[in-house]
Amino acid sequence: MTDSNIQSAQEAELACLIVKTLNLEVEAVEIDPQAPLYGEGLGLDSIDMLEIALAVSQQFGVKLRADDKNNIQIFSSLRSLNTYIQQNRGA
């Protein structure tokens, strides 16, 4: 994991998916990969998170699970969500 606030290619792809799914007013490239998605930061609520989870499952075949012990970490930023998706992709 890097400290950079520049999106990687995969992060950019995920940012696009999030913006498109939720019809957000921000540009995908403007999402800080290290800023929180939920609550403050991007200001998403739990319905938005559900919508993201459904889209991620459709696009990447990765299921986000409610009982995952690392959920706080996984949902903490675009970067950590992307890391989780990449780790579980095709698994």
Binding site: D45, S46, I47, M49, L50, A53, L54, R65, A66, D67
Partner: protein, 300 residues
Amino acid sequence: MTDKSLVQEWTIRSERGALPLIKLGVWIALRIGRRAARIFLYPTCLYFLLSSKRAARNSREYLARVLDRPPSPADVFRHYLTFASCVLDRVFLLNEQIDRFDIRVHGDDVVREIMERGGGCILFGAHFGSFEVTRAVGRQQGHVPISLVMYEENARKIRMALAAINPQLEAEVIGLGRPESLITVAERLDRGHFVGLLPDRNVSGEDRVPYPFLGAPARFPRGPFRMAMLLRKPVVMMVGVYRGGRCYEIFFEPLIDPSEAVAADMDASIEQAMRRYVAQLENYCCAAPFNWFNFYDFWA
């Protein structure tokens, strides 16, 4: 009292201090039984009636709309007493003492059909009458579990009360305070569970849409309807009306059929579902006016 519900005031200010009090109240109620415990409702209602002017004013405003005449002090007292009766009865319902009650169910074929398909179902209730009575009937009939989704703050209080009455039911409360809260809802629905919400109340929140309700526009939260559309599960409106004495009447009515809701026009489907929900809620209010338990300014 602030713009919050009476329930919140009722469940006592300091949460840490509340648990022993709730436990004591529950212990007394279960020990002396429903009939004796009901006697205490009268002074309790009188106390709350006199101690919170704002809740009483909101009650009067609602009653004036629904009764279509200026409400008398007796009407307001009856409103409080109906609420207090339902709160007390929850103790006995959660304690599996359902045989104390005379419960009639209408429209249960709607849910039975969904249950047989095994696909899960979303129940939309309201802060109206008793949701608990349905859950109790469900448990008695060996029904699939009915989880309840609520704001985290309320979830904490309810869990605390449950810890004192029936700790096994704590898992059935889903708080909204976490990013994965609704993923929990989705997973439970996929296991065939029923999940209940009360989408009439949204004290805060930006995503609210005004609908005509008892003669004036009132704002209703759009979130629960959006969630239901995303999950593509049947939504049934469920109301447990308290009829006085030991009588309850439960009504089920289909609200959203996911096969009818068109994905391409989600906004229109949400709008239609909200309109139907508000219209049905209004009907229930007119049929059983004192069962309305939103003691804040609903039309604010």
